[in-house]
Symmetry: C2
Subunit: 499 residues, 2 copies
């Protein structure tokens, strides 16, 4: 049947065609059935939606679908009923507890990429993986299928390494130390990083204070060829694209099956061209993995998967209960990272980065981890890592002469004080995120907080707990309000009451 | 934050607000996050979508959401981040294999009704029920929660009964015989029926040939008070509304967890006010339940659920491998039902309807099933059931003088013949549906088929297998074409080859 096109100026992110009820009946299709839409030689499969007050003979397309097949307002397209994709049978098979063959996993990812699966259908797939699990072969097939959906980096001459944290810890900017350390030692480390989803800042948000992070594949190759390293936002390149689409469904559902976490991370590392990968699994209260037993289990799975994918994957399990830096938020973190590289600060960040660099050196060079740690420490103390970091910043389009004192946090600030005396017994990553985001982070680079206390410390009533910053007075006030609901610093009171 | 409204003339069936990327960042919300939208005293929770080319300060609403809060183009609404509903935690709990409390099941259905759950979130719930199952208490809670979402019929004086088939069998129009039979015996039977989803015709589609089937609750009460019975389309009334919303998600996924089937059917029967319910479970090749063991299991579950809901539920298991009538399609079926009531036809339809009426009479009057069957047979042969049927047709707004010969099938027809001699060993319900729908059923009331053979019959090459009808020459040709792919009548050849 032929239809006049009406374009709705919204991107649906999925091919949808909205038809009049009677027209749909004529085509014998209903809501969420599939149709093939054709315009000249271009065609696409779309899901049907019904307009209760639709016009007879009119097909409404969202702007992305219209662009895809090249139609404009008033053009005529043909619409016919289409087959249900076989991948839906594989989704069902997973829900029934079946083991998917390589080709079946691949079909799901292919149809996902062709936008032939609806959000509901993808949610059913994710729920299937969540409830039924996947064996090693299935996860390997999924990782490879996701890997194949995007661009890939490839470097000859010498080892290519990468590292990644499964996340959840505030101020964990070790990548910004590890990348220049490894690169200055002649080891290629083309690192893609993420923006914050629910935290105060992701590595990409923080690095953006210093230089552009949205680089093309060609630009990335150039930077890495020149400097051995890079720190770019993964969202700006088309690497492991299917994973981003899966995350869009998983995030609102808060369903993070381990199998999807494994394939998501390893597909991206594979696309970076890395054969040697170090993963950081922070664990403990407030982080993604509850306890060390679960962290060990996950680490073991990563290693097994790595060998299936012909990658050497090692893991460290780190303490994820507290922030890695006392400075949280894009500008504050960027300044502290620079201070660390300049040798002006030597807290937990430097220690963790050097330990991880040591493990990476052990993996690629066969030396002991202790020897690796000492080499990394020397790179940092000698200023070589700083020089390399500035070189990378310059290559990515930033100012290579940047100094830590050039970076200013938001001009509005306020100090939050203890309301009673006691002992600091916990500093909460999730509360830090909530309060910093209320202050405007990560969109406001100047928003964030500086922690003034550490766990175990004995404090008096009125002691400074942390300082909040923002570029906006309103957001600062809002954050101070939120700070009353979300306890960033938990103080154990010694005397609870006097009667 | 305040936004100017732009209304998109499409009904999304879910509250969605489309915001500009930067505005969403300011609100600290992402795709599928929830926001509260307010206009004067009206407010609703909506899911965020992002317009990649959105206008700063503009919020796009779909027409149903705009109507709900009463805004028009260019009005100003306020939008603020909203909490994630607790029901999502219960969806997660089910996916984790937990047992949901009454209040948790109710919260999911309440949020579904308030359009606060996305299709993906509902799909995750359905997948959770599918993979983890539900115990009797959970299904009872679900049934009650669904029952509470709609209008309810209530009749005093005397028993109210109902019957229902889980479906899948062509030409199964027993309700059109059972309802007048019971009603003429003074037993109230306010029956809601369905339209075809994938079959050639539903009871509502067939009855519509004779009278209106979309009645209001008040009209239904009037018809039942006057005649004791009715046959109305369930989709036109607001009974067990949540079930329709769940079916909209289940249908494209083809996920039919037994628990949702149980709650769907029983919530509707409860809303009809029926305390005595007879269910028909057709089983065997081509029907919904594969074999008699599974049918018995399902019947047992229905009975257990019934006692939890203070309803007497009995089940019959019937042969679902072949059509109940040789006439398929709205007009052809309506004509044959009338012929059966007129006493001019006495095939399987009359027999099945009288057997089921006998069981219902046994349930409400305590007489034996055999005695019940004889009473039903008498109602039919005496013409009392026909008189009552015409009375109901008249009360629903149809012509009470209608006769079977007044009903004409589509004027284009063609006979499909056997291409080889052999024995008819199967007549396929699913193929019948495909071919009849290609001919235009159920939208084209005149479309359908008349079967000319029955299972076991020996036929010669060139024997007439079935006749196809349609009101459209094109659709008839299309159906004939489809008939080559979908084998309606399977003929076992005795001599396969001669060499």
């Amino acid at each position: 049947m032929d239809f006049k096109v009406h374009v709705i100026d919204v991107e649906a992110g999925l091919n949808v065609v909205v038809l009049d009820d009677d027209d749909a009946k004529m085509l014998d299709v209903g809501v969420s059935d599939r149709v093939k839409i054709k315009f000249g030689k271009n065609e696409a499969v779309a899901l049907v939606d019904l307009a209760r007050k639709g016009k007879h003979g009119e097909a409404m397309l969202f702007s992305d679908t219209a662009a895809k097949i090249g139609v404009s307002e008033e053009d005529t397209i043909s619409v016919e009923a289409a087959q249900r994709p076989a991948s839906l049978d594989y989704v069902r098979k997973k829900l029934d507890g079946g083991i998917l063959a390589d080709a079946e996993v691949k079909a799901i990812i292919t149809d996902l990429m062709n936008e032939e699966l609806s959000a509901a259908e993808l949610a059913a797939f994710i729920a299937g993986v969540y409830t039924r699990g996947m064996n090693t072969e299935e996860v390997a097939a999924l990782t490879n299928a996701i890997y194949e959906t995007g661009d890939k980096l490839e470097f000859k001459n010498g080892p290519v390494v990468s590292e990644h944290s499964i996340g959840g810890v505030a101020g964990d900017r070790v990548s910004m130390i590890i990348v220049p350390t490894m690169a200055s030692l002649g080891i290629k480390i083309p690192k893609t990083c993420t923006r914050a989803i629910s935290s105060a800042s992701g590595t990409a948000d923080t690095l953006e204070v210093l230089c552009p992070v949205s680089l093309s594949m060609d630009q990335i190759k150039e930077v890495v060829t020149k400097t051995n390293g890079c720190l770019v936002w993964g969202g700006a390149v088309n690497m492991a694209v299917a994973d981003d689409k899966l995350i869009k469904i998983r995030h609102p559902l808060r369903l993070d099956p381990e199998e999807l976490l494994l394939s998501s991370i390893l597909a991206k590392k594979k696309a970076e061209g890395a054969k040697t990968v170090l993963l950081d699994i922070p664990c403990g209260r407030g982080s993604k993995v509850e306890n060390i037993e679960k962290a060990r289990e996950l680490a073991h799975k990563f290693q097994t998967m790595g060998s299936h994918l012909e990658m050497q994957v090692d893991c460290i399990i780190s303490d994820g209960t507290e922030p890695v830096m006392n400075y949280i938020g894009p500008a504050l973190e960027a300044r502290e990272v620079l201070r660390t590289l300049e040798g002006a600060s030597s807290g937990l960040l430097a220690e963790k980065a050097c330990l991880m660099s040591g493990v990476l050196l052990h993996m690629v060079r066969g030396i002991s981890k202790e020897e690796g740690y000492r080499i990394a420490r020397y790179e940092l103390s000698s200023g070589k890592a700083l020089a390399k970091f500035k070189e990378i910043i310059g290559a990515q389009g930033g100012d290579p002469k940047i100094k830590s004192e050039d970076i200013k946090p938001g001009k509005f600030s306020s100090v939050v004080k203890a309301t009673a005396e006691g002992r600091v017994h916990h500093i909460d990553n999730k509360s830090i995120s909530r309060v910093c985001r209320a202050a405007g982070a990560p969109a406001d680079k100047g928003a964030g907080m500086v922690l003034k206390v550490s766990v175990g410390q004995q404090i008096k009533e009125g002691a400074e707990l942390y300082e909040l910053c923002s570029s906006s007075k309103e957001k600062l006030d809002f954050a101070l309000q939120q700070a009353k609901h979300f306890e960033v610093v938990e103080v154990e009171q010694i005397i609870l009451d006097i009667i």
